[in-house]
Symmetry: C2
Subunit: 344 residues, 2 copies
């Protein structure tokens, strides 16, 4: 009895395998371009070549599926960071919302300038000013309370240029690139200078990246108990991880324990992450987004004569290092056919 079942099954498997082969060929033709929002060019070619080399069994550059990691900066790489980081907009909005409970802020800097909406004064804020703003808006509550505040803000806030939710401002070519990598067995991580918990509230919805694959600047959380004796997690004002510059590879090592094969960034804060990726010694893909499209998005550098910017600084030295090391510089203007999903 067993033998006859196996024989029938065997024939069925052969027929089915042939069917699958024919159907999958048809499917591959229909979905032949995994990166439809990218123009043909060296950046797109480099991506396709890298994925093919590292995922083709028998290739000298083959990477086993469990070892495939790709890390992405967020601000300016996955979504818009101009004229101000989204999380900073949140912090300022939150400060204004909290102001009625803190009458002393009306006469104390840096709060005073934020409440008054004094953009000139805010533009001169030091790192210490910004830290003070982050402390009063991001700490002192439980993890759950903070996530609820962020989600509520994201649902209501609109960006100043397109008048859309900030989460609409993700770059479509990057969403395609991350999906393409995942389809080929890569685990995609966000490695952001922004707050880990801030990004975790929307990353799954916007980028299909779950909380455990978000590496960011992080507070030294405090485990404690509420009045009912239940375990809770409080947001303390102490920074544990400053996930910028050399902090990026250090935290990648902490979370993943090895070199990624691919890394994408857009500013000097991403330099060390790309160097660490390349130092892995296998075939690797390092990319930097150059914001050179003042019409469809923004133009800033100061690399290549673009206007200087304190937000997402891309220096000429970084550009020169990219060229020297064989990293790919993505020209937003030339390499991206379409920037946002909401564009016609």
């Amino acid at each position: 009895m067993k033998k006859s079942i196996r024989t029938i099954c065997g024939s069925a498997i052969v027929v089915l395998a042939l069917c699958c082969l024919m159907l999958s060929t048809a499917h591959a033709q229909a979905a032949s371009d995994p990166l439809p929002s990218w123009n043909e060019g060296s950046a797109k070619q480099a991506i396709i070549k890298f994925v093919s080399a590292t995922t083709t069994a028998g290739s000298a550059e083959f990477v086993p599926p469990g070892d495939r990691f790709a890390t992405f900066d967020q601000d300016g790489t996955l979504w818009v960071e101009q004229p101000m980081y989204t999380q900073l907009v949140f912090a300022l909005d939150r400060l204004v919302a909290l102001a009625p409970g803190h009458p002393e802020w009306k006469t104390t800097e840096p709060f005073k300038s934020v409440i008054a909406g004094d953009r000139a004064a805010m533009a001169k804020f030091t790192m210490k000013d910004l830290e003070q703003i982050v402390v009063v808006t991001h700490t002192g509550m439980t993890d759950g309370k903070f996530a609820a505040i962020v989600k509520d803000w994201l649902a209501k806030a609109r960006d100043p240029r397109w008048h859309r939710p900030f989460t609409d401002l993700a770059y479509l070519p990057m969403l395609e690139l991350m999906r393409y990598l995942r389809t080929n067995g890569y685990k995609t991580y966000i490695v952001t200078g922004g707050g880990q918990d801030f990004v975790r509230t929307y990353a799954n919805q916007v980028y299909s990246i779950p909380p455990e694959q978000i590496i960011g600047s992080a507070l030294d959380m405090e485990f404690t108990y509420n009045d009912a004796g239940k375990a809770i997690m409080m947001r303390s004002p102490k920074l544990l991880l400053n996930n910028n510059f050399s902090g990026k590879p250090e935290d990648i090592y902490l979370f993943i324990g090895r070199h990624p094969q691919a890394a994408v960034g857009n500013s000097t804060g991403d330099r060390e992450m790309l160097e660490y990726t390349q130092a892995g010694g296998k075939d690797s893909l390092m990319m930097l987004v150059l914001h050179d499209d003042p019409v469809r998005e923004y133009a800033y550098g100061p690399a290549q004569g673009l206007p200087a910017s304190k937000v997402g600084t891309f220096t000429q030295a970084l550009y020169d290092e990219a060229k020297a090391r064989g990293w790919n510089v993505i020209s937003m203007k030339n390499d991206w056919k379409r920037i946002f999903a909401f564009e016609e």
Copy 2:
């Protein structure tokens, strides 16, 4: 043409589906006990009930696959920790191996006692003594160099009782439990007070847990460059994460961003991890291994009148909390049919 292919495929699929159904029923009968090294009892029942409740679609306690996390302490929970933590054996062996290059150690404590093999003096080592030993044996080299040293030691070292590689001393019932959870969509993490990088060198081979799912005590690694300008990661003597007690849930939050559904430990250092797991508000499984089998392994507490131990202390207060909160205490003697894979 297309239509006729689809018709043939359709028939093949129906036949194959029937075959699969018959074969999988046979398979399910053969593999009906996912935990063969566990005796029937309340611990085993609790595991099966928890997995069934959280993975059955339509169940009130159903947890979506992407949200299924289980965290395991290592020393004393997944493998033997007596008479001394394995990593401490490594540190002492390493110190002796390095001693010829450090003649000054012969006259300086705590190194002197280690080199002399003075067990009585070593038993009195303070935390500061142990820290000094860890610094000279675990830091000052690259990540890759350290991993190579650990792997080399693990290949040669033998435990003092069974005279086997330390990696043979993993508990078979726990390997079964982790595999059972993974088969049911759970991501298994190790959350250890031991060194993250030490555990990462063998965890994939021993526990089928990859480096990115190892949370442990961790150094503040230093990204820098070698003489050739290549990015490297150096092991600095500064501790970043002390992954014990409240550090466990804090680091689980850092790495995973939410409560696990299951947590297993064996000592006071695991208490907060289990409390945090239970506080997740869904169906959850909290377990503590009680070492009450002096014949097949070791017996220590001091809970339930067992001998006190500085290594893996399980206090009566922890035992009482477990009973009060409905956690499962696993009796190694009564709940485990077989402890090691190498046993007959």
